[in-house]
Symmetry: C2
Subunit: 147 residues, 2 copies
DNA sequence: GAAATAAATGGAATTATTCTAATCTACTCC
DNA sequence: GGAGTAGATTAGAATAATTCCATTTATTTC
């Protein structure tokens, strides 16, 4: 098993980094790979555990550094829910998040252009936003109910 | 100077607490007063400093406890922006937040029913949200520019 | 008004995040 | 093509945010 990151994603990473004069290090590649692999909105700590299986000596600080770089490159988004550790998400299309009170699971809620521009119009004159974060807290569809 | 909390707000607090079998302690009253006094979205730490002027021995843990109670009573809302400490806001009407990259200031952006229900419709069938958090990150109107 | 019960408090511990000094890498100039 | 150098990367140590839990304080019941 090599550094397991499919070619298209590897290229996307390489180009995004290059345009900012940064390098596709083993650590960055691996962190990006792990986030793409299981799209469950992991925390930095979750990611640390997963990356360690491949790079056993990597520290949590490096995970944060890599994540910050990926966020800067707009390959990864941060999700801030409750008073809880930040989560990370590789979905690059505009979307909101739904956080289930029962299961703790986080779902992506897609936002098309129409929705997005509707939200943008909430802003009073003179304000311009480059980042919009929308999150819902509530209950998702019932999971299997025991009779 | 007594515990400085105008009568209507004092009553609102008292009733909200009572309906949950909780008591309007000096600490809770003071924390609520401080949040209402300067509506600048303070962090727990900011609030601690301000409350200390009146109750010098109060601990930060108690501030968090009081805030959690106020949030439960729906008198105060939590605001989660970036990877930063949680902020608190006594605006009980539906609203979003705008966070200015330049000044760090946080503004309330009001959401009328029409806007609110538009957002609610983003949710797929089966999902119901009791809390919606919407925040913008960007630049606010120019502040005074030096020639 | 005392005992039983429930709530509130804050010091200590935990957890999330950032800082900084040391290391490494890739490019330039000879 | 190799040494020097500037800039990037790394991770241990420090800081900052939040929570836990044993103790204290308040309320209710009898």
């Amino acid at each position: 098993m090599k550094t397991s990151l499919p070619e298209p994603e590897r290229n996307r990473l390489k180009h995004a980094l290059k345009s900012r004069n940064l390098r596709p290090t083993r650590q960055r590649t691996c962190v990006y790979g792990v986030i793409l692999e299981k799209r469950d909105h992991p925390t930095a700590d979750d990611i640390h555990l997963r990356v360690r299986e491949k790079l056993p000596s990597i520290s949590l600080a490096t995970i944060y550094n890599c994540l910050d770089t990926l966020v800067e490159c707009e390959l990864v988004k941060q999700v801030h829910l409750d008073r809880a550790p930040t989560r990370f998400c590789p979905n690059r299309t505009p979307h909101a998040h739904f956080h289930c009170r029962d299961t703790g699971q986080v779902y992506d809620v897609s936002l098309d252009d129409k929705r997005l521009s509707a939200i943008e119009q909430f802003l009073p004159d003179g304000f311009t936003a480059d980042t919009i974060e929308l999150s819902f807290l509530g209950r998702g569809p019932e999971t299997i109910t025991v009779s």
